[in-house]
Amino acid sequence: MSKITDMTKTHNWSGQKLVSIDHMLFEAPRTKHFMTGSEVLKEAVKRATVDASVSYPITPQSEAAHLIGELWAEGYVGVYFRGENEFGVMSEVAGCSMAGARTITTTSGPGTLRAMENFAQWSGTRAPMQLVLMARGINSPLTIQPDNLEVQYLLETGCMIWYAENVQELFDMSLAAFTVAEQPDVHVPIITAVDGFFVSHTREAVELPDDDIALQPYDPYAAPLPPIDSEMPPGRFLRDPFVMKSNYISYATHASWQWEIRSAVERSKRYARHLLNGLVHITGNEDAEIAFVTCGTASNQAKEGQRELEKLGIKSKVIKLRTIRPFPEEELIEALEGVKYVFVPEFNVVGWLANEVKAKLYGKVDVNIHAGPRVAGGMSLPAEAIIQEVMEVVNPGKGA
């Protein structure tokens, strides 16, 4: 049973000492553990003073959702229940968040698409909930493999999207995510993505602070919207849709509102730069003419490729994007100084990251952007495939 007690100024309902995000991420002593991504997400939620979590099972996130439920039983999460399906879950998450609760949920693959309408509604209502997306294939024939095609569908929902490479980043990011999403001048939902199985089910070394500390609670009274009460439904506009009034109001308000949501995502950069220690992370040779632009576990494979290329005497570097929304355009342009060839390795069939990179860099850098290599359907992306592709582009006709 839950052992929830009263919240005080110094301790939360489970007796954890309340600390700042800076203390949690940068100052608190850490000890080494060996955990899967699902287990490490439980550890993050345990330290996040989470008010509410709603779940629905779908591989590969089911275990993470289950473990958050364990936290409710242990008294670390205020409210936990199972929704009727993913659409219901994302609607209920919105309700919890708009009511002033720090709220988290998880999903994967087809569940993401079933809930899709909600993500645009989330950002439209400017409620700062967190979705941890453990990406998986979405298409028929049915697959549970760790393809990340569904992220493409989320790109224009107005939500922030961060991408973790490994279990350590998943822990740190999911704590930082609440803080950034809840900043009054940001206040939009955040999706923390990882590649399913590769991160959710892989056991890795991870450094964790003690579990007797937790983040300060969410303060809905610092929100840029009026808090909910019987006279004031969330956002007010939900009760009185603009479109019912006149074309003029609908046009003026929706146009400015859509720009405003995207502006809010841009405003998140200053907080994310601090808490993520930069929006991009660069490894390899600084003066390389070959760069891999990556996110998620493709970064790991690209680093493997970078090390193998180095053995062949070829300099390259890996520019890992920690955030996709906001897109770290300035940082990427700076990191590409002196680079002649860009490769974008991906775990999906369409190459959505390559499309993003091309669109953001168009006319701004003089570089050959090669949309690949990429795999689909959950196939792994071996370093050999990366090296072969690089050699064919950089050294045509001479082979790998």
Partner: protein, 189 residues
């Protein structure tokens, strides 16, 4: 139509897309420039004192006495309007009301341009308005009017206003009133 602000003539512009972002702590924003708070306060006072039909738009956070700070701020805003010779038009309800809005009585964030056009307002202060609604209103005002907008914000400010003061509580309002009195004397108003 719109001729002020960093995005100039864009329909429904957003300053962030012009690279303008809210000021860091301790600083203020005048159009695209990050400046000291006192510099911005002087400019805000000058604009309000020299613009036609300067108006303060107080929002729900200072219209209702829901905490001691709100009450104190409301009293100071009244004093501020007297020092600045400014009218006051409240923004007390966020629901869309078009075409029934009475622009003489209130401003609504979903069609703030109507109030500004109707009253020929050339400078306006938004204060105590919840940030989401302020941001939407400021974008529409900038797109559709030539009003100089000023955000006096208790949180991190609004880059879509022509002038932004952030972290403004009663202590800062007292400072602003003092500066406004000095500027008023300098201008001989």
């Amino acid at each position: 139509m719109a001729n002020q602000g960093p995005a100039y003539y864009s329909p429904y512009p957003a300053a962030t897309y012009e690279g303008v972002i809210t000021p860091p702590e301790g600083k203020a924003l005048l159009l695209e420039d990050v400046v000291d708070e006192e510099t911005a306060m002087r400019e805000v006072a000058r604009v309000m004192l020299t613009s036609e039909n300067a108006t303060i738009f107080p929002g729900p956070q200072v219209l209702y006495g829901w905490n001691e700070e709100a009450k104190k701020k409301a009293t100071l805003i009244k004093e501020m309007s007297e020092v600045l010779n400014a009218k006051m038009i409240p923004m007390y309800d966020y629901r869309p009301k078009y075409p029934k809005i009475d622009a003489e009585v209130e401003i609504n964030p979903n069609h703030p341009n109507l109030t500004i056009w109707h009253n020929n307002i050339k400078a306006a202060i938004f204060i105590g308005v919840h940030c989401h609604y302020a941001n939407v209103a400021l974008k529409i005002v900038r797109a559709e009017t030539d009003c100089y907008t000023i955000a006096i914000c208790g949180l991190s400010g609004h880059e879509d206003a022509m002038a932004t003061l952030r972290d403004q509580h009663s202590h800062e309002l007292e400072k602003f009133i003092k500066i406004a009195k000095e500027v008023k004397a300098e201008l001989g108003k």
